[in-house]
Symmetry: C2
Subunit: 567 residues, 2 copies
C-alpha cells in the first residue's frame, strides 16, 4: 500500500516489478480457513511488492491509463460475490468495495479456484484484459492466488440471493458486504466530505467545532435522554436521594446526560467565532420504533451571528442544494442511479425509485408557508372531509402530527420541499425569538391572519421533505435578550427552586429561583449578547432521502434503536 | 449575511447601498442591556442591508480589494476587548473571532461610545481608513453604532488583564472569547478540514465512516467505560440482579457502554471497503486527573486492508506530516507563531514556546526502536544510575510508564518522534497479530535479541512525541486468523461461560464457552477474513503538541474530566 502514500506514482514501478515475474498460474497461497492449519509465511509469499489496485481505479479509464492500460499485471483483493465453475475454466465476481460492481476474475485452470467460495476473501494477481463476455469491458485473467480467507457458504449469513432489509439489520457487521449497503457507506463518506467543502470553500469560512456529547442539560426538552455512569457504579442499589454520599459517587459530581442537540454549545462558540457548525452524534432515548428514528444519529448543526430569518432559510437551502449537487456529480450518485435502474424490472426485490426526480425536487423551487396558514388549510380540508381526513384533529395549539406534515407537503407545497414557519411559542423551546422581533423588512413572514399575535409565534421553521420524510431540518432565531430568556424559562418551568437565602444573585431572577445547569447559557446573554440563529439537519434522514432508502436504520452502519443495538 | 451564500458578490452591492446613506455619526441602536427596557425595532434599525465583513477579510489585502479597498464603508461586529476614552475621541478594540488581532474602532464623538464597555458586543458601521496610530495599518472610523449587547465589566468573568488557564477552565463558555482560546478553536477547525483533505485528496480514497458510540463491549480493556441508561430509569432502586424484569427495563435489552475505541467497528467496514477512517468522540471513565487525559476526546482512527507493518508506520508519518504542514502554511499557523512571538518578552504570562522547532521535529526524521531494545536501554540506564533514575523499575513484562516513555524520547530518539514497536503480547490486547506473522521482508522489525521469541511479541507500535507529550498514536496489525483470535481471547479471559448444553456451535469454541458480545467481531474472521491493520491518533493530544498547549483541557471547547464537566 506504499504507493498510495507517496507522492511519486509507485504503481508503475510495481507493475514493472511484476512483469519481470513468471506468469504461470500459481497458488502461492496463505489460507485463513479455520479447518486447516495456518501455514507460516514463506519467502515466496512476500517476494512480490505488488500493491492492490482498486476496482474503481481499474474501470476509470483515465486512471487505467496511468496504471499501464490494458494487459497490465495487477493485484485485486476483495470478497467473492459469486463463483461459477466449469470444466475448463472458473469464474468469480470479486467486490472490493470501491464500486457498485465487481471484478470478473477468470481462472483458466479451474482447479486452482477450488477453495474459492461465495463470501471468501481473495487476493488475486493477474492480467487486466479486454473481456470476452458480456457485462464488463475488462476482466482479470488470474495467474496467482496470493491469499484466501475462506468462508463456509452454508454458515455465512450473507447469501448470494437477495435478502430483506429486516434480515440484514440483524447482521450489521456483515451487511456492508452487500453491494448496496457498501455503496451507502461510500455515499455517506462522500456527503461528509461535501459538508466540509460547503462550509470551508467560501470567502469567509464557517468554523467546524467539536461540541461535547456529555452534557448537563437536556437542551430543549426535545426528547428523553440517556444518563451516563461509570460501569463500576452501575449496580443498582438503594440509596436515599439527595445524599452527599451518592453525589460523591458520581464521576462528574452531578448527573450527566448524552446530548440531544449541540445547539446551546454552538451558541457559545458563535458568540465569539461568528459562524460555526458541527457534524456530531446526537442521542434520544425515546421509545419510538419507527423508520424515521434512531437512538444515536448524526446532526449537522450550524449557528450564525447576526443572521436574519430570511438568510437563515437561504443558508439551509444553499446547504441542501450543495449536498444534492455534489452527490449528483459524484461517482457514488451515478452508482445509485445505476442500482435502481438495474432493479427496475425486478419489482419483487426493490421498488423502483426515481432518484433523479427526488434530487430535482431539492434543487428546484421550494415552498414556504406559515404555521398559521398551514393549520387553516389543514382545518379546512379536515372539515371538508367530514372530519375523516386526519386521525388527529388539526388545532393551532397542538402542533403538527406526521399525518399533517405529509398533507402539507403534498397539498400546500404540491410535493415541493416546504418551510413551515412561525410556530406558536407555547409549543416551542424556551430559546426561540418571538416573531415580533423579526426585522420589519421581513414582516411578510408574519402571518397575514390578523388574529395571530406576532408575540405568540416564534421566528422558527421546520423544513419538510416529500415522499413521507417530512421534518429533516429545524431552526430558529434565538432569544438574545436576557430578561426575555429568563421569562421564557420561568413560564416553561425550567427555573429551579433553591433556598431563597442561599440563592446566587443573578439579573431578573426572583429570590428562591436558580438557573440550574442553564446558568452558563444565560451568561451568553448577560455578557455581550448578540442576535443570532441556527438550525439542525438530520444527516441520516437527508441521506435516506437522497439514496431512496425508506428506513434510516439502513443508512447507518450500526443502527441503535429502541431495544436494539447489535454489534 | 446573504452575500456569503450567493454566488454573485453581494458585498459591493451592500457598499453601494450604504454609500447612498448619510454618513453622520448615529446611534441607531438596539441595546440588549439587562438594566434598561428593550426597544422594539424600528424601521431605521433595519433599513440598512449592509452585511458584516470579517476582520480576516479586511486585513487580507486580496480580499480587501474586492471589498472596495480603502475608505470602503463596512460593518464590523464583535466583542470589545478594550476601551479607551479621551476627551475628544474614544477607541475600542473589537474582536470578531476571525483573527488573533482585533479591529481598532475610532469614535470621533466619544459620547456615542458611552455605553461601550469591555466584553460588550457591538455592531459598528464606519469607514475603513488608513490608521494614524501604530499597531494596525487600518482602523474603523465609526459613523453608526447599530447594536450593543452590553456587559457589566465588574461582573464579566473575562477581564482585560491576563487570566490563568486554571481560572479560564472554570468558564469554558466564555473563555473562547479570549484571543488565544478563540485561535485554538480555529486551529481545531483547520486541522479537522485537513484530516478530510488528507484522506480524500488521493487517487484512491480512504472512506470516512461514522462508527457507533453506543457499544456492547469495552473493546480492549483499554479503560473504564461509561454505562448508559435512559434518564427515566435512573432513579436508584433495589432490584435483585439477573432478573428478567430488570433486563426488560434496559432500553437496549442488554447493558450498553460508550465506546472507548472505534477500531473493532472500523475493521468491519474495512473488510469490505478496504481503507476507512473515523474522526469520532471516544470516552474513558478512568479516574485520572492529568494534563494528558480527558473523559471525552476525539480519536482519529484508520483501518487498512492488506497493509504491511512498514506501510502502517508510513501511513502514520504521512498523516502527521500532512497535518503539520497544513497548519504551517495556514493563516492560523502564522497566528500561533505571532501569539508566542508577542508573548516572548512577557515571561510572567506565557512561557515562550518555539513552535517552529516543535513542528520541524514532526516534519524531520523520526526514530524507530523495538520495545525489547528500549527496555534494555532503560534497564542499563537505571542500573548505571544506581537504580535511582526511575520510580518504576523497567522490566520487559511490565510495559512502559510515562517516565520511561519520556526517557526513550530524550535519550534513545534524541528528541525525535519515535515509534516503539513489538511490545510483549501478554500486555497488549487480544486482537494484535504476533510479530512472527509479519512478512519476512520486514524481519528487521523483529528484535535482534535472540532471547525474544517473535511469537511472544505483537506487530504493534506506539508513537511517542517529544516535549513530554509521549503517546499520541498507537496501532497494530490485527489477528486475522479465527483460531488464533479465539485462543487469545481464551488466554485473556474474554470468553464467557454458558450452560454447555445451551451453547451455540462456533468454530474453535469448547463446550460451555461463548464469545459473548464479541461474536460479531469473530465473525469478521469466520467469513472471508483478510490481513489488515490500523491505528488510533489522539486528536486532542496532537492538537496540544502543535499549538504548544501543555494541557489537553485547553484545546477542547468544553473539557470533560474526572469530577468536572462544566456547562
Amino acid at each position: 500500500m506504499l504507493w498510495r502514500f507517496e507522492k511519486s506514482p509507485c504503481l508503475s514501478r510495481n507493475l514493472q516489478c511484476l512483469q519481470r515475474h513468471g506468469l504461470g498460474a500459481k497458488t502461492v497461497k496463505r489460507s485463513f480457513h479455520h479447518t486447516r492449519p495456518v501455514r507460516t509465511p514463506t519467502n515466496e509469499a512476500t517476494s512480490s511488492p505488488l500493491q492492490a489496485v482498486r476496482h474503481a481505479t481499474l474501470v476509470d479509464k483515465s486512471k487505467l491509463y496511468e496504471a499501464g492500460s490494458d494487459n497490465a499485471i495487477v493485484k485485486v483483493v476483495g470478497l467473492v460475490r459469486s463463483v461459477r465453475k466449469q470444466k475448463n475454466v472458473a469464474f468469480a465476481r470479486v467486490a472490493d468495495g470501491s464500486t457498485l460492481g465487481s471484478v470478473q476474475a477468470v481462472f483458466p485452470h479451474p482447479n486452482i479456484a477450488k477453495d474459492i467460495t461465495n463470501g471468501a476473501y481473495v487476493s488475486l494477481i493477474g492480467k487486466w484484459v479486454a473481456s470476452q463476455g458480456a457485462g464488463q469491458s475488462h476482466e482479470l485473467l488470474v495467474h496467482e492466488i496470493e491469499t484466501i480467507g475462506e468462508s463456509n457458504p452454508l454458515e455465512n449469513p450473507i447469501q448470494k440471493q437477495s435478502m430483506t432489509a429486516e434480515f440484514l439489520r440483524t447482521v450489521p457487521h456483515l451487511r456492508m458486504r452487500t453491494a448496496f449497503q457498501s455503496l451507502l457507506v461510500r455515499v455517506r463518506s462522500q456527503l461528509t466530505a461535501a459538508v466540509s467543502s460547503h462550509f470551508n470553500n467560501r470567502s469567509e469560512p464557517v468554523y467546524q467545532v467539536h461540541p461535547p456529547l456529555i452534557t448537563s442539560s437536556d437542551c430543549e426538552g426535545a426528547g428523553e435522554v440517556f444518563t451516563i455512569t461509570p460501569r463500576s457504579k452501575e449496580i443498582p442499589r438503594y440509596i436515599p436521594p439527595n445524599t452527599s454520599r451518592e453525589q460523591e459517587k458520581l464521576y462528574f459530581r452531578e448527573p450527566k446526560y448524552l446530548t440531544v442537540s449541540s445547539q446551546l454549545h454552538l451558541e457559545a462558540y458563535s458568540a465569539q467565532l461568528g459562524d460555526v457548525f458541527a457534524l456530531s452524534p446526537t442521542f434520544r432515548a425515546e421509545e419510538s420504533d419507527t423508520p424515521r428514528h434512531l437512538a444515536e444519529f448524526y446532526m449537522l448543526e450550524a449557528e450564525h451571528r447576526g443572521i436574519t430569518f430570511d438568510d437563515l432559510l437561504r443558508c439551509v437551502r444553499s446547504l441542501v442544494v450543495d449536498l444534492t449537487e455534489s452527490l449528483q456529480s459524484h461517482q457514488t450518485g451515478k452508482e445509485l442511479l445505476q442500482y435502481y435502474e438495474d432493479h427496475k424490472h425486478r419489482p419483487d426485490e426493490v421498488d423502483f425509485i426515481d432518484l433523479e426526480e427526488r434530487w430535482s425536487r431539492l434543487t428546484g423551487p421550494w415552498h414556504t408557508v406559515t404555521y398559521t396558514a398551514a393549520i387553516q388549510a389543514l382545518k379546512d380540508a379536515h372539515e371538508a372531509s367530514g372530519r375523516t381526513l386526519f386521525v388527529n384533529r388539526p388545532h393551532w395549539d397542538w402542533g403538527l402530527q406526521l399525518e399533517h406534515e405529509r398533507w402539507i407537503v403534498e397539498n400546500v407545497a404540491k410535493g415541493k420541499p416546504v418551510f413551515v414557519t412561525h410556530y406558536p411559542r407555547a409549543i416551542k423551546p424556551f430559546y426561540m425569538l418571538p416573531s415580533a422581533i423579526t426585522p420589519t423588512s421581513e414582516q411578510h413572514w408574519v402571518p397575514a391572519d390578523n388574529n395571530t399575535d406576532p408575540e405568540e409565534t416564534v421566528a422558527c421553521f421546520d423544513l419538510l421533505l416529500p415522499y413521507g420524510y417530512c421534518e429533516v431540518v429545524g431552526g430558529s432565531l434565538r432569544e438574545h435578550r436576557l430578561e426575555d430568556l429568563i421569562r421564557n424559562m420561568r413560564s416553561k418551568g425550567l427555573l429551579k427552586s433553591v433556598d431563597a437565602t442561599n440563592g446566587t444573585e443573578y439579573p431578573f431572577l426572583d429570590p428562591g429561583e436558580s438557573l440550574g445547569t442553564l446558568r452558563w447559557y444565560a451568561d451568553l446573554r448577560r455578557f455581550g449578547s448578540n442576535p443570532h440563529g441556527g438550525y439542525g439537519l438530520g444527516f441520516d434522514r437527508l441521506l435516506a432521502y437522497l439514496t431512496g432508502v425508506a428506513n434510516v436504520r439502513d443508512v447507518v452502519g450500526f443502527p441503535r434503536t429502541w431495544g436494539r443495538a447489535d454489534c
